[in-house]
């Protein structure tokens, strides 16, 4: 088919991607947006198969079949709690594919005089570096999220020097590659160095920082595709890749802001230092009130407005269904119920919303930080399940705290606070939470699901 027609078709594909992503911005249009995006991808594949440069279809059909079966199985079998792992793997595979395609592109250009055109080689280097970092970084993120390796930050002496050395080596090899007449072998050297860099970059990132890293890897997988577009001189790759790159970058920014940290701090595995002088015992001693499920049920009976604040502890104990039942029961009794969701609750952006949606909580009840904060003063009971730093009032009141300035949910402004938590152990920031010792707070120590179920039981019997 005429190359101009194929390119026109690709233009249509790009438009479908833009419209599709735009649709994903609103709950009402999101499903249609996703369908438009996948339609665009289907069209892109069909158009590409019409390209006269494609001679053999056997390998293509086999590879498409294998990929489709694996992809569909993963997508249909995955637990919603495991969504961060899934997205990490998919990001990584996208990056990996870009590395391979750029490598193949260099092979193709090798014979043609085009190899002397340095911008092709430069694009291939970019694709190789970004793609390899994405691939191996995603695998480490997956292994951490799946608890195959330790979730905490791994640090070793000379780490930054080694990473800097690897980055410089990748850059230097890339330059050398630009100057060599036969760049193909050198390309794989760049990929090897970048692979090691990808491993070492994500290793020092702790579990609580995962939302940032997943968003960043998402951005990288897009940029790798865009770089591959420069290698192949293909606009649809450039457009689609940069759209994804931009989207991932925005989410990275949102996550960093929500955690009060810079991207650099996250990348080097820097954790805020624990404040000296104040010990947990001083803050908590004799002031923490432990309640029973009965007392909490009684509080709910008397409440007119309840706000539920889910944290990672809810996801870990798979309490989302019990929490949804609780919300439904309270609403059935005419109590106003809302969910206040902090941007970094969970292990990836918006993860908590997905878990609650899975448990059939209507999305109108899911409120973000800005929406819910003004409402806490009119709230009778705030129920915190397994959240810690994101409800710590020190972020507002103590300018010397590592949390100072971090946007938090103003749970402490509610009339009563119930906190379900396994223990008084501090959160990621490593500092105690005065909310737990406040006069209006009742602690329910135990597993999130077990405690919510116990409260439910009392409510149903009463």
């Amino acid at each position: 088919m005429n190359a101009a027609f194929i390119n026109l078709g690709y233009l249509g594909v790009s438009a479908l991607f833009v419209v599709g992503l735009k649709g994903l911005a609103h709950p009402r249009t999101a499903a249609r947006g996703n369908v438009l995006g996948s339609l665009g991808m289907f069209l892109a594949v069909v158009l590409t198969l019409l390209d006269r440069r494609i001679l053999g279809f056997q390998t293509i059909v086999v590879a498409l079949l294998i990929g489709s079966v694996i992809g569909a199985t993963l997508a249909l079998k995955i637990q919603m709690t495991a969504m961060p792992q899934m997205v990490a793997v998919l990001n990584g595979l996208g990056g990996g594919a870009s590395v391979l395609v750029a490598g193949a592109g260099l092979l193709e250009n090798q014979d043609a005089a085009i190899a002397t055109l340095s911008h092709f080689t430069a694009a291939a280097v970019a694709s190789g570096v970004i793609g390899a970092v994405t691939f191996w970084g995603s695998l480490v993120a997956f292994a951490k999220l799946q608890a195959l390796i330790t979730e905490s930050a791994v640090r070793f002496p000379g780490q930054y020097a080694i990473n800097a050395g690897l980055a410089i080596a990748a850059g230097g090899l890339g330059l050398w590659l630009l100057l060599t007449p036969e760049p193909h072998a050198a390309y794989w050297l760049v990929v090897a160095v970048s692979s090691l860099l990808g491993l070492l970059l994500v290793l020092p990132v702790g579990g609580a920082d995962m939302p940032v890293i997943i968003a960043l890897l998402n951005s990288c997988s897009g940029l790798a595709a865009a770089a591959t577009g420069f290698v192949l001189n293909n606009n649809v790759l450039i457009i689609a890749g940069s759209l994804v790159g931009a989207s991932g970058f925005i989410l990275t920014q949102i996550m960093c802001r929500a955690m009060n940290r810079s991207l650099l701090d996250v990348m080097v595995g820097f954790a805020p230092p624990a404040p000296k002088g104040r010990v947990d015992a001083d803050l908590y001693a004799g002031r923490v009130k432990t309640g029973s499920p009965e007392e909490v049920a009684w509080l709910f009976d008397a409440a007119r407005r309840v706000v539920i604040v889910p944290g990672y502890g809810m996801a870990v104990s798979q309490a989302q269904h019990s929490v949804a039942h609780l919300a439904e029961l309270l609403r059935g009794r005419g109590i106003e119920v809302e969910f206040a969701i902090h941007p970094v609750a969970g292990r990836m952006p918006g993860h908590m919303n997905v878990l609650l949606a899975e448990a059939n909580v209507p999305y109108e009840l899911l409120k973000d930080l800005d929406e819910s904060n003004p409402t806490f003063e009119q709230t009778d009971v705030a129920l915190v399940i397994g959240a810690n730093d994101v409800v710590n009032p020190l972020a507002r009141t103590d300018p010397t705290s590592p949390l100072a300035g971090m946007p938090i949910l103003d749970v402490d402004k509610a009339r009563t606070v119930v906190v379900i938590k396994r223990s008084l152990s501090p959160g990621f920031a490593g500092i105690p939470n005065p909310l737990f010792a406040a006069d209006k707070t009742i602690m329910l120590f135990g597993d999130g699901r077990a405690m919510v179920q116990a409260v439910l039981k009392v409510l149903r019997e009463g």
Binding site: S38, L100, G105
Partner: protein, 97 residues
Amino acid sequence: METAVIGLTIFVLALFAGFEIITKVPPTLHTPLMSGANAISGITLVGALLAAGSERDLLMSALGFVAVVFATINVVGGFLVTHRMLAMFRPRPKRVP
């Protein structure tokens, strides 16, 4: 060089378009947005198909083959799992009291 400049122009404009489109996405939809965008980044599949079907040399076909498998998992898995998530966000009919 000409083609590179055109490509760069498209790249920068698409970045701006991406920022404009995505800044207003509500936090509720961040996970589906991410997996949906991620599926779109599987557009590398186009390049992978060209490499796999070129029959120029064995190495290139092999690279293309693996790339097609990777990118297809990315695309199919990404769109399907996004669909699954979005189905849960759909407003349900009111419960009968």
